[in-house]
Symmetry: C2
Subunit: 273 residues, 2 copies
């Protein structure tokens, strides 16, 4: 029987906790794995807990009793969060991103898994107290941040499809008007994708007038969902009034000046700790 | 000046390594963080390396010299991989998944972040030796496994869009014929999304005849890409011959019997260790 040193156990337990955020891990799993006394494992965990707290990695809670275990709630330090959001703002301001029509190219940032992971952790931390059961987004660019939010919250992701050609059994479709370009579009969600009366948060990459977000809220009302909040990576300064209210964004796109090739974007500071 | 214990340092270094797979982390970063001698940090790392090796978590390599540092190559133990793939097969066999037309409902599995993460780690391990520079997929369901593969490989994800209405500057579009239903469709990739002559792997959720994969390969040839391989979560037993050759799948869908409500799916065992 191999005997494990404290630092070895700490490394393994750290890994298990990090890979299972918001999930109760049984202490027995670890006592069996290491053939160690519960007291040793508890001490390992308290070392990790104190270290994580000192470094601002998040909270670790131990639940005692028969169903006891340990749970990790990831957090990001306010200064790390601000630095991260500022770095995204810097990247977004690159004038090479300007596309015809005053759009800006964001795909490289949206599909950057590290960015998505951090955005997901920020939104998870923001919405965690509301105990959402599902994260909902709309294809395509909403998926990376929404998937990572779902991962950090340890809940399933539900993806609303663009259009109506969906081969996923009975589904609910909604025609909606995009808030800024006033186009009529359709979004569809399979009936089996989301149980009725679920508690959900909506995560998306971008919001201009909020027409898509409003459409998602309306579609979710067909599922009697409780929409706890909406988180978007970037919203725009104009129009100031959006079609939805209860949303927060990490960044605000203030202006895109095609002629002088200048993009103004700034952190909103609207995400709570 | 706070003095850190070995187990505290090990917990922090474990976290940094896990969150930065396939990325060189400087030893100086850790000596500064902990105000510790390089020898202590090196010993911390060798403890983590040995522990990770014993538990089959992956390889940790230390590079000495001025540009020295430490690098983590994640791995999944063969038995864990097999168990994971078998568990997906079990979930897929649920007859409630049968949709009209002999399709099966997979969205809940595809959009499960934990599943995607593991699939991504498996494909990353499989393709790592080829040193891909980009992971390429096509929206929508390819995104979760592809994003997680990109994360594990520490490379960017490139998403080919379905259709031609893409507002991302100059782009290349390709009309292709879906291999099984013989529909003509369009896929589009923005010029700026992928530099010419990149080394890429294609990751997707599903392959039937391989028409979409073939389309992606053809579109990528416009970017002079070197396609190192194709990984799909599920392919079908029929048609046996696909329109592409160099692909591997984790699971094979053998049959969907709508009348008797039976789905046959099995692990392919074709993913190398």
């Amino acid at each position: 029987m191999e005997k494990w040193r404290r630092s070895e156990r700490v490394s393994v337990i750290t890994k298990c906790l990090l890979e299972n955020p918001n999930k109760l891990l049984s202490l027995n799993y670890f006592t069996n794995l290491f053939q160690s006394a519960k007291s040793s494992i508890s001490e390992d965990i308290s070392i990790i807990r104190d270290t994580f707290q000192k470094f601002g990695y998040g909270k670790i809670e131990t639940l005692t009793g028969a169903g006891g275990g340990v749970m990790f709630y990831p957090e990001i330090k306010p200064e790390d969060k601000n630095e991260f959001i500022k770095a995204i703002a810097m990247r977004l301001q690159d004038p090479k991103r300007i596309l015809p029509g005053g759009f800006i190219y964001m795909a490289d940032i949206i599909f950057d898994a590290r960015v998505a992971q951090k955005v997901g952790e920020i939104f998870a931390q923001h919405f965690m107290a509301e105990a959402p059961q599902y994260v909902v987004t709309m294809e395509t660019k909403g998926i990376p941040p929404a998937l990572m939010t779902a991962k950090a919250l340890n809940v399933p992701l539900v993806v609303i499809r663009d259009g109506s050609r969906v081969t996923e059994g009975t589904s609910v479709s909604l025609n909606y008007v995009t808030g800024s370009s006033k186009q009529i579009r359709t979004m569809t969600l399979s009936r089996r994708a989301l149980p009725l009366e679920s508690r959900v948060v909506i995560i998306d990459d971008f919001m201009k007038a909020g027409g898509t977000a409003k459409g998602m809220v309306d579609l979710l009302s067909e599922f009697k969902s409780h929409v706890l909040g909406i988180g978007v990576l970037v919203d725009t300064g104009f129009p100031e009034r959006k079609l939805v209210n209860n949303y927060c964004s990490l960044l605000k796109l203030l202006s895109v000046d095609e002629q002088n090739k200048r993009i103004a974007v700034e952190p909103t500071g609207r995400i709570s700790e």
